[in-house]
Amino acid sequence: MFEIFGIPSTALFGQLLIGLINGSFYALLSLGLAVIFGMLNIINFSHGAQYMMGAFAAYLILQYSGLGYWPALIIAPILVGITGILVERFFLQWLYKLDHLYGLLLTFGLALIFEGVARNYFGSAGLPYTVPESLRGGQNLGFMFLPNYRAWVVAASLVVCFGTWFVIERTRLGAYLRAATENPTLVRAFGINVPRMITLTYGFGVALAAFAGVMAAPIYNVSPQMGAELIIVVFAVVVIGGMGSILGAIITGFGLGVVEGLTKVFFPEASNTVIFVIMAIVLLVRPAGLFGRRA
């Protein structure tokens, strides 16, 4: 066994893998943010609350209908996505022409309301949710014990992330979307219902957050503040990747997960701050972010 900076290499491999797993949550969440910002020009500050709503929806579905993890993985994002559509129809659609700040303030306010309501009804300690039967246990990889559930998290988020990227960057639907953000009037002239497309896009972005929430429910504490803790980091990820860049969000999400994981080994006290240090450096060197379109 050889050592790297005093840490046995096997331990280091384990930490790299764990970083990748955490990165998949960052990637899923920052992807939703990037889609919403890229297509709607809205800085969706309620993303963390919507992630929390996904996890709570999974819990409520289990409590009231007895449906477990797998159905919840489909149903919860749809339900939360519908709330997103309502938010877009009632509030956000009036803000597209205004400064970014208005969207940010509105969604921030909504996040506080969502979290406050959840805290009022469920308290702050959290709700129990367990790993589904079929994914319990794990594999011994030699250098670490990999729980099956974590392997599933990485696989699922990779599929969802690149699926989304493919749809937006490589299909006709994605082309319409991108065209609609550039010049909505012209796209409407071609007979495409732009407002509906925008509404559905926001709903999809929110559903992505809820999907991440359901994925998180078995391993993280399901509490009203679970999203607030994560969202700040995710915003840093999006800024580092470049606002609105989908591929940037995915790659930085995974990358920063790994960086954070390594920090937890070498200097654990700084693991909450390292991402912000990187953000500061990136903003100094490349203000548009690593993958930003404007140089």
Partner: protein, 402 residues
Amino acid sequence: MRRFMGLAALAAVLACSGANAQQVNVKIGVLSDMSSLYADIGGPGSVAAAKMAIADFTKDHPNVKVEIVSGDHQNKPDIGTQIANQWYDVDKVDMIIDVPNSGVALAVSQVAANKNKVFIVSGAAASDITGPKCNANTIHWTYDTWMLANGTGTAIVKTGGDTWFFLTSDYAFGHALERDTMAAVEKAGGKVLGKVRHPINTNDFSSFLLQAQSSKAKVIGLANAGGDTINSIKQAAEFGIVKGGQSLAGLLVFASDVAALGLPTAQGLILTETWYWDMNDANRAWTKRWQQERQGKWPTMIHAGVYAGITHYLKTAVALKGNLSDGKAVVAQMKSMPTEDQLFGKGTIRPDGRKTHPAYLLEVKKPSDSKYPGDFYNVRATIPADQAFRPLKEGNCPLVSG
């Protein structure tokens, strides 16, 4: 006519009692974490407990008028200090109670000393509050890190868990808990193999758990609290830590945490508390009343401590005839009177500000043994009051001479 006579008699009694017993005005501030990770162990539940204490006391003492305010310190010492200053100076609050989060509690304790007011800690844990950082204006009611370490740490070493690895929350409380547990473990003949310090409110513990796993220590001590403890235990189960032969020691686990984890995940966990709702009839009756305001929740020892602390403070206020302006004198009076309330029974407050009562070593039940909601623990041992807390002379409190 008879009714009129009755009213007149009542009025006469009231008038007399008004003349005999002096009117006592008290203002109490419940400062807690109302909206974040400690809001269920303290927070609105502490306010509910405070209201109950006031209602119970003023029922027997109609001449005492108590006003209550509450605030959210958001786990930030600067915000806690600011609220404490505002309450003591502008709002004329006589006594502040609760304050989970040791960082905030240590800061508020300083404010209380500077302004010569009263501060009763129920929510915070650091044993430094009655140790090197003690002062004549602060009383530490419910529990502390020394007591937790001594209860859980010593018990586990005695049953064979003699090598330890710590996951420690990186602030005053975590450091104190880690230090006190290390001392208890080493005193009992155990050995500490390593530790890792994580920031408060960490989401993912897998990296730290992996380090704990590779340390090969028999026991992983969780020197953290609230959501951090829940996440650690949940993810330890996922990573097969307990199945792999290592055991977890929850150094600070509350009933609300056990409810959040669910018994299937939490079963077998050993922990120490000074109060458990299902321990006796008085506690159960009190819990029923408390739950009228906090439906579906379980009171923690912190809530019980808020109730008992306020009860004793109000007794003192009556003994001093409402003369509460000199905080040091009030605290001295509180220390000189033995305490008695329905939740902790009889007890005393030591010169260093430490309130003493028995502590209980508890084990989380198996799901199959739990017969009704909230049926969380088996009581494994009772640690008598004189052994539960750090000996007076070992605390290095400047108030204790010699």
